[in-house]
Structures are given as structure tokens and as C-alpha cells.
């Protein structure tokens, strides 16, 4: 069997691909959050950041393509593994008993699908800007005089919609919950975990996920609460 065949077809290979693609996506959402937090700075910061990202050109598209491949691998294998795992127990137990599996670990497929729906919505909302063609038109003058796209205004206007903001907050909460199992699980799959530091890793995951959720939720909340306003 070829290497790729073994990775995509063996149980441990599939686990490994789930872990590695999950790790990449985990790294992405972390970086994405840090970048977005610049919305709390004067509008120059996030607009310059967005401008620099968009100026990457082909490199940006390569990164996007790589992330998309990771997402497709992660979702595709998640569906495949879920179906295979269900088929491995054709007859369910009459008495369902859970020994120690956490709730987060038992709802990974469901939280994952919510996150996928959120990704589609989020891309349509802020990247493709469906329903808001005017967001592509807003421009902003940086301190050096360069005219760039006004991402700050787009974020403020986008989160000014209560329903949209609530959906964002719920979705990042579910994503954080998904990560709370994912972070610990991927380390186990990569074979880099043992009992000695499991507790520490679990604590890190819980702390990370709360921080991730609260920081993400802070942005729509700040817009709704009027702390981040549309600049003049």
C-alpha cells in the first residue's frame, strides 16, 4: 500500500490525518483571533493588517488553498469515521452507560457540523460579502496616505445586527467546545501524551477554550455595546 493509501485507509492513518488537519485549523483559528482583536485598536491597525494580508496575492491564495484542503480532509474523514464507527456496532446496548467520556468528546460530530455551517456563513458574510456589496466599496486612508479597504467599518456594521452577533457568539462557543476535546485528542493521536502530563494538557485546553470563546465573543459584544464604534 502506498503511503497516502495507508494514511487514508488505515484506522491510525485516518486518526493521524484528523489530528494534523485539526492542528492546522487550530493554529489558523488562533491566528485569526489574534488578528481580529486589532478591532479594539484605532481603525488604522486592522485596516493595515487586512491590507497587508490581501497584498500577499498568490501567497494568500496558497494559504487559503492549504487551509481549504485541511478543512476538506478534516470534514471528509470525520464523516467517514463517524459512519464506520457506527457500523462497527450494529446492535446498540439496551443500557447506555458512559464511564468517563466527556460530553464534548461525545458530541464532536454535531459540534463539528455547526462549526462547518458557521464557516460557510462567516465566509459568505465577511469574505464574499453576500448581501453587503457596499462593504467592498468602503475605503480608508492610512496615516501614510494609502487608500485601503475599510475592514473596521465592515466589522462594526456586520456585528451591529443583533441576530448575526448572537449567531457568531453561539458558534464560537460551540467551536471552543469542539476544541476542548480536539486539542487533547490530537496530542494523544500524535502519540505525544501520557498520564504524567495529561492533567496539565487538559487544563491548558480548558483555559485556552474559555479564553478563545471570551475573546471572540468580546468583539460582537463590544460593537453591540457601543464600545467599538464606526469611525468618522
Amino acid at each position: 500500500m502506498h503511503l497516502l493509501g495507508a494514511l487514508f485507509n488505515s484506522s491510525i492513518g485516518k486518526k493521524l490525518l484528523m489530528a494534523v488537519s485539526g492542528l492546522v485549523l487550530f493554529g489558523f483559528v488562533t491566528g485569526h483571533l489574534v488578528g481580529n482583536l486589532q478591532v479594539f485598536l484605532p481603525p488604522d491597525a486592522i485596516n493595515l493588517y487586512a491590507h497587508r494580508l490581501e497584498s500577499l496575492g498568490i501567497v494568500l491564495w496558497l494559504i487559503r488553498a492549504f487551509l481549504l484542503v485541511c478543512l476538506i480532509v478534516h470534514v471528509w474523514l470525520a464523516i467517514k469515521l463517524t459512519l464506520e464507527n457506527r457500523a462497527a456496532r450494529p446492535e446498540a446496548y439496551a443500557v447506555q452507560h458512559v464511564n468517563r467520556a466527556t460530553l464534548a468528546s461525545r458530541v464532536m460530530a454535531r459540534t463539528g457540523f455547526v462549526v462547518l455551517a458557521f464557516i460557510v456563513f462567516h465566509l459568505a458574510h465577511y469574505t464574499v460579502r453576500i448581501g453587503h456589496p457596499e462593504w467592498a466599496e468602503h475605503t480608508f486612508r492610512l496615516s501614510d496616505g494609502t487608500m485601503v479597504r475599510d475592514v473596521h467599518t465592515m466589522i462594526v456594521q456586520g456585528f451591529s445586527h443583533l441576530g448575526v452577533s448572537i449567531f457568531y457568539i453561539l458558534a464560537v462557543g460551540i467551536l471552543a467546545y469542539h476544541l476542548s476535546h480536539g486539542i487533547v485528542s490530537l496530542v494523544q493521536t500524535l502519540g505525544l501524551k501520557n498520564e504524567r502530563w495529561t492533567r496539565g494538557l487538559e487544563r491548558f485546553a480548558v483555559a485556552y477554550c474559555w479564553l478563545y470563546f471570551l475573546l471572540n465573543a468580546s468583539m460582537p459584544l463590544a460593537v453591540l455595546g457601543g464600545f467599538v464604534k464606526q469611525h468618522a
Partner: protein, 271 residues
């Protein structure tokens, strides 16, 4: 005094047992009231008593797997109240005593359920998939002949202890029965690690993990989702850390086997 200390209050329970005449027949639960149960009886003894009653009445006794009845053979295999080997920690069904239950309890007894463990009858399932996995790599090659000198292959104490932890696996299949995915990872990880940690197991280390995992996959077990239900019910308390070790071992073996130098001389330098 001794009699006083050992005299126990007898009580009654109801066994709700999965009865299925064969793989092709439909199964169902049947209730068997058991009165005057001694708390010091083992769970399998209770099944014996119930079966005696059934035999006297001319009914078919409950089929259940059992052998050593001291927790070392891995034959007994009931899922009791949803937990393989029943309530308790680090024990097999044969080491479960009625004192774990109370008057009036309804005890639900099901077979281990997994596609890879097809049902034979009632509570008996066919776990020969484990044998196939073992045959694929659960062995070492040794030089036949006179006995080697003692300690001719030095084994660090730590490795010996760890290998022994893995080697305590009795192959009962509770890990598969407890896993929501019916994954056999803990069993395979124990078998892979038991030999892979020792110097005697090194020649086949890579081929072992590749072959055993492949056989496991072919047998129809599910995949691991790192929820550790397996180690929670393992009668030998084998750690899921061995699964992490197997993941590591597997990936290493996979990459090594695919990037091995290819012989230009036809193999073995024989030209």
C-alpha cells in the same frame, strides 16, 4: 464467631438477560427473578444457580462464556448494566460479587456488542478476531536450540515493568465492548507494546505494528476517538497511554517501511 461473621443477609434481584438462540434468530430480554442470593456469590455463580433452576424446569439454560473464574483467562464477557464486566474497577465478570448489588435491583445482562464480535448464543460472542490480530504479529522470532544464558539480553527494569503492564492484557474484549466505536485499539496497543518494548521483540517491531493494525482494521473494528472508555473498564487497568505509544510506533513504522532503500543488486547483495 466465624459463622456469625460469615452469615450474610440474603436478598433478591432480577436478572434481565439477553436471550438469543443463534446469530440468525432475533434476540430479546427475559427476566429471571433470583431469590435468596448470597452477597458473597460471584456473578457467574448466580448465573449457574439461575441455570440450575432453568434446567430443572426443562428450559434452555443461559449460555455464557467462562473458564478460570479468577480473572486471568479473559473468557467471561458480559456487559452488566451497560458496563463490560459490570460495576467495579479492574475486575472481570467472574470477580464481580453480588454484594455490589442491592435488594430489588434489576440487573441487565447483555453480550459484548460489536460487529467484529458476532453473537454465537445468548451472552456468548465470537472473539476470534482477536486471535487473528495476534496471529498477524503477536509473536517474536527466537533461535531454537539450547537455552540462552540467563540475562543474556539485558532488559532495563523500567522497560520490563512497562512491558509487563501491557502483557497483563487477557484479551477479554471489554475495551471493544465499552468503546462507542467498538474499537480494538487498547487490545492491539497492549499486544504491540508488550513485545515492542522488549529487546526480543525488536526484529519484528515495525512489521508487527503494521500487520496487527491492518488485521484489526480488516476485522471490522471501529476507530479510536480518544475517549478512554476502554481503559476505564479494562480488568487489568491497562492505560490508554499504550494507544498513544502504538500511534507513534505505527507512524514511524509506516514511514520507515515506505522509505527503505531499494536494493539495486536484486536483494541481499547476491547480485
Amino acid at each position: 464467631m466465624v459463622a456469625e461473621k460469615t452469615a450474610k443477609k440474603l436478598f433478591s434481584v432480577t436478572l434481565r438477560v439477553w436471550r438469543q438462540a443463534g446469530p440468525a434468530q432475533a434476540g430479546r430480554f427475559v427476566d429471571y427473578p433470583a431469590a435468596n442470593v448470597n452477597p458473597d456469590m460471584s456473578f457467574l455463580e448466580l448465573l449457574d444457580v439461575v441455570n440450575d433452576g432453568l434446567t430443572v424446569k426443562g428450559e434452555e439454560p443461559i449460555a455464557f462464556a467462562h473458564d478460570c473464574r479468577e480473572g486471568i483467562c479473559g473468557t467471561c464477557s458480559c456487559t452488566i448494566n451497560g458496563k463490560p464486566h459490570g460495576p467495579g474497577h479492574g475486575i472481570a465478570t467472574c470477580q464481580l460479587y453480588l454484594r455490589s448489588f442491592r435488594e430489588g435491583d434489576v440487573i441487565v445482562v447483555e453480550p459484548f456488542r460489536a460487529r467484529a464480535f458476532p453473537l454465537v448464543k445468548d451472552l456468548v460472542v465470537d472473539r476470534s478476531a482477536f486471535d487473528k490480530i495476534q496471529q498477524a504479529g503477536g509473536f517474536i522470532s527466537v533461535r531454537a536450540g539450547t537455552a540462552p544464558d540467563a540475562n543474556s539480553a539485558p532488559v532495563p527494569k523500567r522497560d520490563a515493568d512497562l512491558a509487563m503492564d501491557a502483557a497483563t492484557c487477557i484479551g477479554c474484549g471489554a475495551c471493544v465492548a465499552a468503546c462507542k466505536n467498538s474499537s480494538a485499539m487498547l487490545f492491539v496497543a497492549a499486544k504491540v507494546s508488550h513485545l515492542g518494548l522488549l529487546p526480543q521483540g525488536q526484529p519484528e517491531r515495525d512489521s508487527r505494528v503494521l500487520a496487527m493494525v491492518q488485521t484489526m482494521d480488516e476485522a471490522g473494528f471501529g476507530s479510536c476517538t480518544n475517549q478512554y472508555e476502554c481503559s476505564a473498564v479494562c480488568p487489568k487497568l491497562i492505560s490508554h497511554d499504550f494507544i498513544a505509544r502504538m500511534n507513534r510506533d505505527y507512524v514511524k513504522a509506516l514511514f520507515k517501511s515506505r522509505f527503505q532503500p531499494v536494493s539495486l543488486g536484486g536483494g541481499g547483495g547476491a547480485g
